[in-house]
């Protein structure tokens, strides 16, 4: 599958890591609602680490849609919270 890390790159990643990514995603959501910034960041860091370590960057000349989009490594909990409101975080 193709995974995009926002503000970084697209990676080709084996689908077997999907469960782990989902687990870390729930971890982020949990800590987001509990206002635990440190834990939120550590889940995010681990997620980014797995994608970069286990995946290979997609050739920049290839134009392909991603199966999964992951937030930027420096997303703040405030920005993440915006994803769950109407205003979202995508401009335009």
């Amino acid at each position: 599958m193709i995974v995009r890390i926002l503000g970084d790159n697209q990676y080709v990643l084996d689908s077997k890591y999907l469960d782990k990514l989902n687990e870390l995603d729930s971890c982020m959501v949990d800590h987001l609602s509990n206002e635990e910034v440190g834990e939120f960041n550590s889940c995010l860091r681990e997620m980014i680490h797995i994608i970069r370590e286990k995946g290979t960057p997609l050739d920049p000349a290839e134009i392909r849609p991603s199966d999964l989009i992951v937030p930027s490594p420096d997303i703040t909990p405030d920005e993440a919270r915006k994803l769950f409101t109407k205003e979202g975080m995508i401009p335009g």
Partner: protein, 246 residues
């Protein structure tokens, strides 16, 4: 719903509304390409903004560093005049200034980081736009309408995702630059006012205070001489009167 689902769905929704805008898929290709070029210009402008903001902060930092030297001199002068209270104010301001310098150093590093990220983003987008341009011409020239439709959807979806990503990066960089601009404007006012204000709420400049002391010392000196002269004259007059009486 998790963050990844939410993010992926939001971006895909935005892309599909973009794809639905044109009846003729070939138009979508041209429109998308035009948007890509606009975005590329936007990224370049974003980089220029970050560089300008960074230079401004570097300039402020240099000014504050030269203020430190002035404050040191003022403190020394105050001590030599026996005014420990003023020396204390100068040293407090120096400490304040040093805190500001430290915060500026962090902000400059932050912008440097933002600049590197945007330069990488620009490079990646430029490669994609070039690939898209080639693909666009191929699709237009070689495929039947039905086949073209599929290929157009695929490549426009791919590039639109890239554009949404780049758009967000540029927006985040802009927000960061804006907030730093506001802060640096506030700092400019402080720098213009001379040295930074001290924490005790006393807003007079140490420099002014020192020159006031100097001039009041001169006045004191003159007053003293004047008093001595007057006393001398009085004494002389008394002596004259006494002599006349005798």
């Amino acid at each position: 719903m998790g963050i990844l689902d939410r993010l992926t769905t939001m971006i895909k929704a935005k892309i599909s509304s973009f794809l639905d805008r044109h009846e003729d898929p070939r138009e979508t290709l041209d429109y998308s390409y035009q948007k890509q070029l606009e975005l590329l210009t936007n990224v370049k402008r974003g980089i220029a903004d970050v560089v300008t903001a960074k230079k401004r902060l570097e300039l402020q930092k240099a000014k504050l560093e030269s203020n430190i030297e002035d404050l040191n001199n003022q403190a020394r002068e105050a001590v030599s005049l026996g005014r420990d209270d003023l020396a204390r104010i100068a040293l407090e301001r120096k400490k304040d200034t040093m805190t500001q310098i430290e915060s500026l150093t962090g902000q400059i590093a932050d912008l440097e980081n933002e600049q590197t990220k945007l330069v990488n983003t620009e490079r990646r987008l430029a490669a994609k736009v070039e690939a898209f341009r080639t693909k666009k011409e191929t699709i237009k020239a070689q495929y039947s309408a039905a086949e073209a439709q599929v290929r157009i959807t695929e490549s426009v979806t791919g590039i639109s995702e890239e554009m949404a990503d780049v758009g967000m990066s540029v927006q985040r960089a802009e927000e960061k630059t804006e907030s730093m601009k506001a802060r640096s404007q506030a700092l400019d006012e402080l720098i213009d006012a001379g040295t930074l204000q001290d924490l005790t709420g006393d807003q007079t400049k140490v420099e002014e205070e020192l020159s006031k002391i100097k001039s009041s010392e001169e006045v004191d000196q003159e007053l003293k001489i004047l008093k001595q002269q007057v006393t001398k004259k009085k004494k002389a007059k008394t002596e004259e009167v006494q002599e006349a009486q005798q």
